[in-house]
Point group: C2
Chain length 210, copies 2
DNA sequence: GCAAAAGTGTTCTGGCTACACCCATGG
DNA sequence: CCATGGGTGTAGCCAGAACACTTTTGC
């Protein structure tokens, strides 16, 4: 069975065009901010998401017919919050699993897929997991997060070894209490860094011996 | 010694702001085109570059102070032409090696570096070389192109094997005439595809056994 | 003791690098 | 026949996947 998927925050439009359809949070670029600042501002204003763990630019969506006139050009971003974040969201706003999106407004479905693709790719070769995981977590929890985002099973054994070898994961020394049905207590880890870093640079055609 | 670097097409500004500095080709987005169409149109209009082998979006540059008022938001692109392309360029336009840029206008130096970084990364894990190489080429020629773009020496032996294993390179059967000082005639190759394809997907954390 | 959950040891594989060696041509 | 430029054979390395086995808990 496929693991459950990550979720996107969407708000339901109350007026035309596309009344009732679900849209990504966002808005106009201010005169004195760059696009990233604008994204952070809109998230903080419209939804209670002042603490976004990671934000990165996806791509520009500029099809002249992506929405009704007047023509709009959108710079799409991927923003991630940890699994234990629980922002207070307005009534018209809700989290939706990316593999079962409600009817989306404009090209926001396409944008969402682009975000998921980017996340999946970066899980492989960067430490981007820091933006999905709580501050402290067990390997099993992390495994569930990775499996959910990637859409396939992930081996806890290998996940731990890969991330440890890369210096991404640091043991805290403490352990979690076992569940009601027993089992060995899980060791707890945290990410060594909370900034995006490429941990597995493309090795192919690398410089000779240096 | 470092190999010679790839070149960027720049034009010299004739008026304020930044008179005399060198700028990337580009211009305003039209009302009925998307950003990629706009890039292709500007290249075709301003310089004789109707035949760009590959175009891809880099990123949006939107610092409110990236240029004088009025504020402009730029969507930067990477465009590649084969090494044997020789477009007729206007008088105010010239190719410059990326490792020795003349004084650049606005943030165009930064944009150029971003383009080079993107090219370097993609040389490792895609077939993007098709956009740099002539239709038919020897491994030595291709080696020079890769070394120049990557900024370090590249082994012809391994380059051939990597690209062949990935199915990117196809032998044509013919050979090139040796140079004046002799030497074995080089076998000639071409790229199997002229569309970007990821040839070395990130293997880490791939799905189990399937 | 037994089931459940977590963690370790070990082997195998495949892609890439490195390097020694072999091939074809001009003078 | 030798210098020059091309091409092949082969060994080693390393990251990751797979899987069997061990450890620590609740009941």
């Amino acid at each position: 069975m496929a693991p459950s998927s990550p979720e996107v925050l969407l708000w339901q439009r109350a007026r035309d065009p596309h009344t009732g359809r679900w849209a990504l949070p966002g808005g106009r670029l201010g005169a004195t901010e760059d696009v990233e600042a604008s994204v952070r501002r809109h998230l903080a204003e419209k939804v209670d998401l002042g603490e976004v763990a990671h934000v990165e630019q996806l791509s520009v969506f500029s099809d002249p017919h992506r929405g009704p006139a007047p023509r709009r050009v959108a710079t799409a971003f991927l923003g991630l919050v940890p699994s234990d974040a629980d922002p207070a969201v307005p009534d018209d706003t809700a989290w939706h699993p990316v593999d079962a999106l409600p009817p989306t407004a404009f090209d926001h479905g396409e944008i969402t897929r682009a975000g998921l693709d980017r996340l999946r790719a970066k899980l492989s070769y960067t430490n981007i997991g820091f933006a999905l995981a709580p501050e402290i977590f067990s390997i099993s929890e992390l495994r569930r997060l990775y499996a959910s985002a990637l859409g396939h099973r992930v081996s806890a054994t290998n996940l731990q070894r890969v991330l440890t070898r890369r210096g991404v994961l640091v043991p805290t020394g403490s352990t979690a209490a076992p569940g009601p049905s027993g089992g060995r207590p899980a060791a707890l880890f945290r990410f060594s860094e909370h900034r995006l870093r490429v941990t597995d640079p493309f090795a192919t055609l690398r410089p000779p011996d240096c």
